[in-house]
Assembly symmetry: C2
Homo-oligomer: 208 residues x 2
């Protein structure tokens, strides 16, 4: 795809995928943009515009074929293929995510757990043994790793992220409360800053 798709459009695609999956589960085979818009609480024209970025998929007078559109959005999101994921930092959040991601969801396959704390070495979560950071370089050489989940403490995050990208992983799901400015520039980072999300809730509660 040559055209640059806006962040806002991308950020809506997983939600389309979720609604289409639910329609499939309910045995619904086709849907108009109007019906979909009522369910999703966005306008039909927004839906058409969003999907036109990727070539449309709808047919005049028929609407969308639910299974086909679900499938196409899966491809757009890159979740039609297995992506191997590791977790670096097996504290509370890392531990929870390790349980959350097994069994595989949407093609994300958890294949490794790492922690700098030697006391955690060998501990098993969801059938995967925690390895020490000494073993990290060898592991990433022997295994295809597509995405690293960064759940180390704030102060360690920058150094650990540099180690992750130095070992050839170019996508980080970052839970550390830090903006990662890494020396390697073609790294894709998606931040989940939990405390900041909670602060937004606090603001909205106090200013509704």
């Amino acid at each position: 795809m040559d055209k640059k798709i806006s962040k806002a459009v991308i950020s809506r695609m997983p939600r389309y995928y979720r609604y289409l999956g639910a329609l499939m589960q309910n045995g619904i085979e086709r849907i108009s943009s109007k019906d979909l818009s009522e369910r999703m609480n966005i306008t039909a024209s927004q839906i058409r515009q969003d999907l036109n970025n990727f070539g449309g998929f709808g047919q005049q007078g028929y609407g969308y074929n639910v299974a086909m559109l679900h499938d196409e959005i899966g491809k757009i999101l890159g979740i039609d293929n297995t992506q191997n994921v590791i977790i670096v930092g097996v504290g509370n959040i890392g531990h929870a995510l390790a349980r959350f991601l097994v069994p595989d969801i949407n093609g994300f396959h958890l294949c490794g757990l790492f922690d700098a704390n030697p006391a955690l070495k060998g501990m098993e979560i969801s059938g995967i043994k925690v390895q020490s950071m000494d073993e990290f370089a060898a592991f990433t050489k022997e295994n295809q790793v597509d995405i690293a989940i960064l759940t180390v403490p704030h102060d360690d995050a920058k150094d650990v992220a540099e180690e992750i990208v130095a070992n050839g992983i170019n996508a980080i799901w970052n839970f550390a409360l830090i903006d990662l400015n890494l020396s390697k520039k073609d790294v894709v980072i998606e931040n989940v800053h939990l405390v900041e999300s909670l602060m937004r809730l606090s603001y909205n509660r106090n200013n509704q």
Copy 2:
């Protein structure tokens, strides 16, 4: 505050708060919008515009007083006062958040844990005992609860959310992968849809 502040501005405020906190820790007492903009990688004019929504706070030729601005943004976010938080659903994510939120961060005080599973009743996390949902109504009558964290499975989320708001709580931090359309309309909801965040990362990895 009468004026409606845009979602984009609000969503940047926690980040300002974080950077100002770090400056304070490093003993920096004042900062120009130019210096702050370089650290935060946004333009100085963006910073001035954002802060002007709340009355400015900067002084020509002086810049910003770091501690004062940190304090003011804390007040804007409503985190200068304690807010009592409960977690409903003590599975993997709920359990992790219970550990994450103790000790209190930024005035968020965890005061209760609830789960429908009777096997979890009495289990202690971070010094707080898990209660059954039978005890929920009585607890919310006897205790001021400001925010409920919803970490129940997807299929239960809507009903549990209705129970939360029926008991007078009007702010939900929602980790269930569902859009909550509740019967009560003045409820503030902040979604953390983890799988959708991971899908955005996948898209960006596959289209960089």
